[in-house]
Amino acid sequence: MRTARATPYLLVLPAWIWLAILFVMPLCGMLSVSLMTGNVIDGFTQTWHVATYADALARYWPQLLRSLGYGLCATVLCLVIGYPVAYWIAFRAGRHTSTYLLLLLLPFFVAQILRTISWRFVLGDNGVVLAPLKHIGLLPESAHILSTATAVIFGLAYTFLPFMVLPIYAVLRRIDHRVVEAARDLYAGRWATFGRVVVPMSLPGVFAGVLMVFVPTSADYVNAAVLGGTHTTMIGTIIHAQYLVTNTYPMAAALTFALLAALLLAIFGYARALGTERVMAVAAGRTP
């Protein structure tokens, strides 16, 4: 009897250990480092120096806000592009579904840095996007996308698009088609069916997709470094430089926690606004 009750706990034990070693311990370590003072030559000691956080926010709030802003823009872009893609694969792709899913995931077989660098060629001043527009006189010769915020946001959206498509696809796929038919039988038009039946039922996927895109895009540092110009630095680049260039580990750790807090706040606000209970209810197959 006792063993039977302990079994589920024993089964999740490896996961707990995994989480403890790879998540909780580093997080505690980082929290500890963020409160230290010193320099890399003489070493850092624990002094509970909370002021580093104030300093971090005072100095780097523009980059922090910009990261959240870029993350938000990229997420919206992913949603706008990704929802139709997911819808199409789920309902219209027929027997080619797995082919399209494979195509969607194919870029992941190439390293992210290489994919980002290839955008340099696409968005280049005389690349495939700008050259024709310049040629027909729609854009002046000096126009450029590369090294601007636009390039960074496009890069972010491109990199994380599959993270939006897949969860939405997974949810749409599970929708009972008879429900859609019922809506049509009850004289709902195409758009009404979509807006009042399909979209509400796909909300859990959208919720998951938004989280999976917003969090990594806000923390990304590759796209800004490769595609950005001046005034496009994201917080990830700052943390990277604080750790590696200036070796101010406490500042790097404090900024990491600031980013974590900002993301948690944003996600919490988003969950409240969308209503997590509603999302979970849909996910559980109950009527919202």
């Binding site: 230290m36 110009g229 260039v245 200036t246 070796n247």
Partner: protein, 403 residues
């Protein structure tokens, strides 16, 4: 569960709140318990370090990409001459991340997987030296260096007397530009501030590199610069950025946009431009502006935890044989630390035919590979920064490049 309505003690079970409390306690004690160690290793004298060490017939060499020909000719020659095999790894992408990777290991006194590595005479070099992470060199084992190494490398400000390092290659940071797009001759760092080139100027993101450009432009010698000079330099760079003149701050990736014409002119490294013109057929021009330019040196050092230091120092010394140095210079096209290599390249040019002859001649005559004393007189080192005091300097310039 609780049928009797009365509160019953449940001693064996811990509530969720208890669990949180315990983990909080555990976390707090971990938080307080640790520190990051700094300088722990006492400086070792060369005699003590090298006593009782001998050759193992093998070594591991960590270097930068494109710093030796793909056939690794010098290493083959080395094996034929000494019987020592070399595990060559192009693993260093930039000084900062390399330092970030090896520092924790060196602090623990653990092998970093390399017996010989190449690092620039900048902040990270100073830090490694100050932390006691570099093996002191035994000059008894460096006779070829003593004979053929250029004198100027024997009294540098960053490592006087080559106590820890010998040069692998040097480079010049100047301006590279597209003659057609710029439409005039570039002669001064002021040209990087010219509004006529708005959005077409590339700058390097490294604090030390960008600081030198602004200091030289302001007429200040980097070696004598004061914190006030640094602030003025940062102000000039901020103005340049906020007027929209700078397109972006680059790491090593400026050469592609420069070749394609997205950048018209950029801070650039001499060897990159030389290679780009030779290999890609680009028509870029490299200038040392009239204010002077920066010379940096990538140095070979032995990490203190090396397992095969004798083999490493043997290779160090071997690379100064003029024939080998010429071989390296021919591929690297940065400044060779062995003046005699110029003679070897000239001899090879005479023996070669047609195209190869021309390219070897160009190499032998290039002031970017074999600078003359007059060229050297125009070149400045990075701002000397004591390892513990560099934070103010770097923060000042990172604030420019990472706005």
């Amino acid at each position: 569960m609780d049928d009797h309505g009365a509160p019953s003690p449940r001693p064996a079970r811990h509530s969720r709140r208890d669990l949180l409390r315990y983990s909080g306690l555990a976390a707090a004690s971990t938080l307080a318990g640790c520190a990051i160690e700094g300088r722990t290793i006492e400086p070792v004298s060369p005699e003590r370090y090298w006593a009782g060490r001998s050759r193992n017939g093998h070594l591991r060499f960590a270097n930068w990409p494109l710093y030796m020909d793909p056939q690794r000719t010098p290493l083959t020659l080395f094996r034929q001459r000494t019987g020592i095999t070399v595990d060559y790894d192009e693993t260093i992408q930039d000084n900062a991340s390399w330092f970030g990777r090896i520092r924790p290991l060196l602090a623990e006194g653990v092998d970093i997987g390399a017996d010989l590595m190449v690092i620039t005479n900048g902040l990270e070099f100073n830090r490694l030296k100050a932390l006691g992470h570099l093996a002191p060199l035994d000059h008894e084992l460096l006779s070829t260096y003593a004979q053929y190494g250029a004198d100027r490398y024997k009294h540098t400000s960053y490592d006087p007397g080559n106590r820890f390092s010998v040069p692998y290659a040097s480079g010049i940071t100047g301006i590279a530009y597209h003659p057609d797009l710029v439409g005039r001759e570039i002669t001064s760092f002021d040209d990087l501030w010219d509004p006529a080139f708005a959005g077409r100027v590339g700058m390097l993101g490294s604090p030390q590199e960008i600081a030198n450009v602004a200091l030289l432009r302001n007429g200040v010698a980097p070696a004598d610069s004061t914190p006030t000079d640094w602030e003025n330099a940062a102000k000039a760079l901020t103005r340049q950025r906020d007027r929209g003149i700078v397109r972006a701050y680059y790491q090593q990736d400026y050469i592609q946009p420069l070749t394609s014409g997205e950048l018209w002119l950029s801070m650039a490294w001499s060897g990159d431009v030389f290679q780009q013109n030779t290999v890609e057929g680009a028509n870029l021009r490299f200038v040392i502006p009239r204010e002077g330019a920066t010379i940096w040196t990538d140095n070979m050092v032995i990490p203190i935890t090396a397992k095969n230091p004798v083999d490493a120092i043997t290779l160090m010394d071997f690379l100064y044989t003029p024939e080998v140095a010429a071989e390296l210079a021919e591929y690297i096209t940065y400044v060779a630390p062995v003046p005699q290599a110029q003679r070897v390249v000239e001899e090879r040019a005479r023996a070669a035919s047609a195209e190869r002859r021309r390219s070897l001649q160009r190499l032998a005559q290039s002031p970017l590979v074999f600078p003359t004393e007059r060229d050297y007189a125009q070149l400045h080192n990075y701002v000397p920064l004591p390892a513990g005091e560099s934070q103010r300097f770097t923060s000042l310039f990172l604030a420019v490049t990472q706005a």
